[in-house]
């Protein structure tokens, strides 16, 4: 535990060296919701028809913004491997008295806390400024949804960040992966509204699973059973990504 705390402390010190960075991390999703969300809310003033009723676009998009924010923090954290490699300190870390798992868990735990603060700000101000009708009774699922989501995406990206040596290559990879995952998911629109081929792809996309869980936790949309299935699928995705990340750290960093 001491080692995990040491990694968390280091992440905290690094993040707080730049207030701009911290501000961006905490308030960017809200800005996204206020600008992009409001614009689309006006464009779809009749709301989005779902499960026999309609919800405003702002309400629908809240979960999309939260999953996007988790993904964003995971990208920033995995990008940290490049910064550490450039500073030369990455390999020194690997000689410190800690296991590879402790290193990865410590790195993401601090950022999960950041994600939770970010989600609290986004949901609170979303409710206060945009009248988003959240279902407080289901809010208990939000914190695990945010933590598991952020960690899952971080572990997923870690294997690539460790294997790809070039910064520009990783940027390209992130852009392509993010673009594909984001638009073939339920982040911006309901999967039911997509053409069958795209809907099929979206249903296999972990970003859809994550977004659907967060939508269930915030505005209560989705059937209990299907959301539970998606949550379990995402936990499996997290577990496999974690194993791959640890394996890469053990064997694939320097060969």
């Amino acid at each position: 535990m001491r080692m995990i705390l040491a990694v968390m402390y280091r992440e905290y010190r690094m993040r707080t060296t730049s207030m701009t960075w911290l501000f961006y991390d905490l308030f960017m999703p809200l800005t996204y919701l206020l600008l992009f969300g409001i614009g689309l809310d006006r464009a779809f003033s009749g709301g989005i028809a779902l499960q026999g009723g309609t919800v405003s676009y702002n309400a629908f998009f809240l979960a999309g913004v939260l999953s996007m924010a988790s993904f964003g923090i995971a990208i920033n954290t995995s990008y940290g491997f490049f910064v550490d490699r450039e500073n030369g300190i990455f390999y020194e870390f690997l000689t410190y008295p800690m296991t590879r798992s402790q290193f990865l868990i410590g790195k993401i735990l601090f950022n999960c806390i950041l994600s939770l603060i970010q989600a609290t700000i986004t949901v609170s101000l979303g409710v206060a400024l945009l009248d988003i009708p959240v279902r407080w009774a289901r809010m208990g699922a939000l914190a695990p949804g945010i933590i598991i989501g952020t960690a899952g995406w971080f572990f997923f990206l870690t294997s690539f960040a460790l294997r790809i040596r070039r910064n520009d290559m990783f940027n390209t990879f992130i852009n392509v992966a993010y673009f594909m995952l984001m638009f073939a998911s339920s982040m911006f629109y309901p999967v039911e509204a997509l053409p069958p081929w795209l809907a099929a792809i979206a249903r296999l996309n972990p970003l859809t699973w994550h977004t659907d869980v967060l939508r269930y936790a915030t505005i209560g949309l989705g059937a209990d059973q299907s959301v539970l299935l998606e949550a379990l699928a995402f936990v499996l995705f997290l577990f496999l990504s974690f194993l791959a990340a640890v394996w890469t750290l053990r064997r694939g960093v320097l060969r």
């Binding site: 001491r2 080692m3 990694v7 060296t17 030369g88 020194e92 000689t95 410190y96 008295p97 960093v253």
Partner: protein, 322 residues
């Protein structure tokens, strides 16, 4: 830990790097060595000889292809976590937190090394003073010169008391005063019973510091032992300093014809390093004395650098990428 257990024990170590082209590069080729506890050990070799590869294996960064290596009796492949609890490392690359202050760099390192938070402040103050970094304590490392960055990196390992310290080209980039302070700090640590594993290109530093030395080339040991043994392993080399009444071009031409490892001259003094027995060194001196007027001469054992050049200077091996 039993004192008779070697601090580092390497047996028949092989490391192959597989290239995308399909062929393999043999960075270590059956290397064996043993470092006793409390020793200052120097690993020498030209670029690409396998020094960094060996260091990476011993610090658990990579796995060997074959053979075994242990630190304080613990196999580096079987018990990497336990090994990491017993070592601290200064790698060749600059490894500092650029956006943290000097004091925060040390404090963060202390946490990773399990120093209790209440003791960290005290340890940071001690190390800052020891390495004359106090005036920079609140400066971000990114704003420091290269030499100071290196000093911050090296000073970190003196925060903790691990049995084995690995130093890869630790004094590179430091000015002579800091280099001297670092060498002194290393000596003090060895006196306290810590084992120092040092790789360096600065042979004078190795000569000054190390109890035992191993010279490797192409991933194999070519010489091993204490300084005297290493020197005697070479086909004997002697340093001679000869002052003539006048050092003419004719004398220099004559000297150039001799089988020398080194020839330099200043004013009327020629500094040469002779390869051969003591007799051949004296014979050269006698020949020169018969032909020219010698005002003064000194004969001494060759430096480690000359022995190193003699042992390794014969062939140009394939460079192995770091």
């Amino acid at each position: 830990m039993n004192r008779s257990t070697p601090a580092i024990d390497v047996r028949d170590l092989v490391k192959l790097y597989r290239r995308k082209s399909g062929h393999s590069v043999r960075a270590l080729d059956g290397l064996s060595l043993r470092v006793e506890q409390g020793e200052i050990f120097g690993l020498l070799g030209r670029n690409g000889a396998g020094k960094t590869t060996l260091l990476r294996i011993l610090t658990t960064l990579i796995h060997p292809t074959a053979g075994s290596a242990s630190v304080m009796g613990l196999d580096v492949v079987e018990h990497p976590y336990e090994v990491r609890k017993r070592i601290c490392t200064v790698l060749q690359e600059n490894a500092v937190e650029l956006y943290l202050s000097v004091a925060d760099n040390l404090a963060t390192y202390g946490r990773f090394q399990s120093i209790p938070p209440r003791d960290i402040k005290q340890q940071v103050a001690r190390v800052l003073e020891q390495f004359e970094l106090d005036e920079y304590r609140n400066q971000k490392v990114i704003d420091l010169s290269g030499g100071l960055k290196r000093r911050v990196q090296v000073s970190k390992v003196f925060m903790v008391n691990r049995p084995v310290i690995f130093l890869d080209e630790a004094t590179t980039g430091m000015d002579p005063i800091n280099k001297r302070a670092t060498i002194e700090a290393i000596r003090n640590q060895a006196r306290l019973g810590r084992t120092i594993f040092l790789t360096t290109h600065i042979l004078q530093e190795a000569e000054e510091l190390c109890d035992t030395i191993t010279i490797i080339d192409h991933g194999r040991t070519v010489a091993q032992g204490n300084l005297q043994t290493i020197k005697s392993l070479s086909s004997r080399a002697f340093d001679m300093s000869i002052t003539f009444d006048e050092l003419t071009d004719v004398i220099l031409h004559d000297l150039e014809q001799l089988p020398l490892l080194k020839l330099t001259h200043k004013h009327h003094t020629a500094e040469i390093c002779v390869k051969g027995s003591e007799l051949s060194a004296l014979s050269i001196l006698k020949t020169l004395a018969e032909r020219y007027t010698i005002l003064h001469f000194e004969v001494g054992r060759a430096t480690l650098e000359e022995v190193f050049l003699e042992i390794l200077g014969q062939d140009d091996g394939e460079e192995i990428p770091p």
